[in-house]
Symmetry: C2
Subunit: 500 residues, 2 copies
């Protein structure tokens, strides 16, 4: 068994090299690859992804995994056992997927990525539709190839993104969240309080926004010796290697808030990645957390901290210094209110905290139908526009601010709920951090060392070895609920909008 | 034979995928990889370089190459034959190099690259010395493994960089060049003409320099749909793929000329790469030109065009517009003279056109001794400082402006002469372009379409299929000579410095 374990690790070490390269290639693709180089570079990424797949999916590797899984109780090191269990779960999902099908699937995703970008630039969903159909088709086919699977196809995709949290959990979760949010929205609609917004679309030179980004990231504790910030169409964060965490942002010269909160959000992912346990890396179980767990952290930094009165107080002097030409007439209070203005709108990533989850609920409802064959790619755009009208009362002027705004569907389904789950998780654990320290005061003082240390010890520490349900229970002694999230919104926005 | 050729191309297609990935990884390494990620990323690059080496060096591949080489006269397509000959030449050099030795060699280079960077930052040659010794050792060992080789070890390295141009060519070439340049330098020293330089170290915000870079590159014909500009310690250009050419520059806020001429220089390489023949790509013989041929083009754009009176006249209005806060008091004539000021100095990449080749000659003399065992790595720093004192009358204050300034020796020897050869080549062919059009007037008009078209048809066209000696003869009907280069300098600088 020890020989087998050694052999397994040797093989994983090799796969890791491929994954490291693929991460860099993908980062390069999203950040700097010139337009006419897309196709060639995408085909290179597909090729190496398939090589990595072949290594993981080789007969020898499969036999090793199955054999070690059968003997897992004899494995002494708990993290070694976790690794074996993780690989076995993955094995069950992938065992019937041939190398050829894997390559085909990756090609479908790459092609969809390219056509999505073109379609978005051309404001034309029809340029993306055929590729979306193919994504639906191959991802469903991949699920149907599993021996063990949930009857509801979408549940399998949800499980891939957020292990153990399925439609039976999400239906009531979103139902109750939707009611809570629409109730708050109604109160805000009736509020007489006016928030000043005239300055938020002022032109702000990109180079100043870059200085501001770097300031915020450093303040929040991001380590630039182990990280980098690039630019891409859609902001994201990726863990390239143990000491290499890469973020991206997108600068708009007439929407400085977009970069500001992208950077705090992605910086949150980055802090999570930069603070994984050394021992998890050694056991190859780093980066085993679910999307929702990750989003809970990024949205904790973005919203709970970044949109708080205390954080704005902390950064206001620097804000005034950097943007003295642009925002000399904006008070701290005005800035705080402007970043928290609630306004039903079209773009998820620009949405305020209250309406945000409505964007997610719309995607959840659509995905569920799309994957389960209750909605076609021909109908999806109308459904999108219908739901936006119904829940938020807004209608996209064009496809790029509607159905084409997110990249996610170029490579599958089931990710979106993670964002709202992230909010629900962090609303649950913010109570814990508030018990452990005078949380708001630490933000006010900019004591991110203390905050990040608590996050490491309590939130990051077990994240790679527990399922989301186990993890949130371990942190809070409670099961997943949207209630804390709703209360958090209710409290914060009743103060801002002076209701209740 | 047709089957073999097909098989060969199939295999090269696969190697190409590896090389494509390695180029991106290397570009990433130099431009965005965070400090603490260096080691892991370098090891990934080494791994994939070695995988590529294994593919090229496999028994089957070697047999294919040898077999096809023997039958090359039957191959109908001339470019297919060129490919076979190119591969065979490479085969002869590499056939006795084992995969293990290749990996070892790459590791030595990567390690040297990292220690060079550290040493440069710490201004301490001793941190790099041991790794330089290893580079000397492995590159010599690689030469000694060749069955067919020149007796003089350094000649083999020169031949790798500039096929067919060896010490027997370079000794008299540099001798005569040195005399010519020192003669011009003496006249300049005696000139009474004063050039205004007070403005060249003024602070210039990086973001303005970026705007200026983009303007210059676009003006010169660089296609941003097929290219990108990043930032690195040492500017370079790399051909990632057919439609993906990447440059880098380095911005200094107190040396705007550094970026300006780096970008024109690297842009020249970029134009060469962006204009290779489609048919050369199809036959996998793209990028077969020598360094000197490439440098002739980059230095043609940098010096012959970029430092000309006509080019400065062309860009002056934009220069004034972008830098209105910084350079409103600088006239066109003053700018022209400042970019052409001749002043013996320490840094090769910042050197003027006249002293530039002296920097090369110093490196040539040192390399030749170092590789042939007539100088040790212990002595190389003193030799460097001694030659700078002797030829240019200057002495480095520290190692990073002396022996540590260039990255080249982290991966071998023989490249430096290419720069001066490049100057000599372009001084020879600038006569041809002047016969074909009113060259100076086309610069004045900014008609880079016409200039670049001529370059494509005459300079780039045969570059992948001819040796440097064949190529320069085909273009100019003359053999390589430093005379045109010396005359070019004599004429230009006698006007600027009012001598003769």
């Amino acid at each position: 068994m020890i020989t087998e374990l050694k052999e397994l690790k040797k093989r994983i070490e090799e796969v890791k090299k491929y994954n490291h390269a693929i991460s860099i290639l993908s980062y390069d693709f999203e950040t700097v690859c010139p337009k006419k180089g897309y196709e060639d570079e995408a085909s290179i990424i597909d090729f190496f992804s398939n090589e990595a797949f072949k290594l993981m999916n080789s007969k020898e590797m499969k036999e090793l995994i199955v054999s070690l899984y059968e003997k897992r109780m004899e494995v002494e090191d708990e993290l070694d056992r976790k690794l074996i269990e993780k690989l076995y779960k993955n094995y069950l999902k992938k065992k019937n997927i041939t190398n050829e099908f894997d390559l085909e699937m990756n090609k479908v995703f790459s092609k969809a990525g390219i056509s999505w970008l073109k379609a978005k630039k051309a404001n034309d969903y029809s340029l993306f539709k055929k590729d979306l159909e193919k994504v639906v088709e191959v991802t469903k086919k991949a699920v149907l190839l599993r021996e063990k699977r949930f009857d509801n196809i979408y549940d399998n995709m949800l499980d891939d993104c957020e292990e153990g949290i399925l439609t039976e959990d999400l239906d009531p979760f979103f139902d109750s969240l939707k009611k809570g949010i629409l109730n708050i929205l109604e109160k805000i609609k009736n509020s007489k309080h006016e928030i000043r917004t005239d300055f938020i679309n002022r032109k702000v030179p990109i180079h100043k926004q870059q200085i501001f980004s770097d300031y915020l990231l450093k303040l929040n504790g991001f380590n630039f010796d182990k990280g980098y910030v690039g630019q891409s169409e859609h902001p994201f964060t990726t863990s390239i290697a143990k000491s290499d965490t890469r973020l991206t942002t997108h600068y708009y010269d007439d929407m400085f808030l977009s970069n500001m909160f992208s950077i705090i959000h992605e910086g949150g992912h980055g802090l999570f990645m930069q603070n994984e346990r050394e021992i998890d890396h050694k056991h190859y179980i780093n980066n085993s957390v679910t999307n929702g767990m990750h989003e809970s952290v990024s949205r904790f930094y973005e919203n709970v901290i970044g949109r708080s009165k205390e954080y704005i107080h902390l950064i206001y002097p620097k804000f005034k210094e950097i943007f003295k030409e642009e925002f000399s007439d904006v008070s701290e209070e005005e800035l705080y209110e402007a970043i928290n203005i609630v306004k039903p709108s079209l773009i998820r990533t620009e949405a305020d905290e209250v309406t945000y989850s409505i964007h997610i609920i719309i995607r959840y409802e659509i995905e569920k139908k799309l994957v389960n064959g209750k909605l076609t790619c021909d109908e999806v755009k109308d459904e999108w526009n219908k739901l936006y009208k119904k829940y938020l009362g807004v209608s996209p002027k064009n496809d790029s601010e509607g159905i084409l705004q997110d990249i996610h569907w170029t490579s599958g389904f089931g990710y979106f709920p993670s964002y709202s789950l992230g909010n629900a998780y962090n609303a649950m654990y913010v109570k814990k951090i508030s018990e452990a320290m005078d949380f708001k005061n630490e933000i006010l003082k900019g004591n991110f060392k203390k905050i990040n240390r608590w996050m490491s010890d309590n939130i990051f520490y077990y994240a790679n070895v527990l399922t989301p349900k186990e993890w949130i229970y371990k942190i809070t002694n409670k099961n997943l609920t949207p209630d804390d999230y709703i209360s958090y919104l209710e409290k914060k926005y009743s103060e801002i909008y002076r209701f209740n």
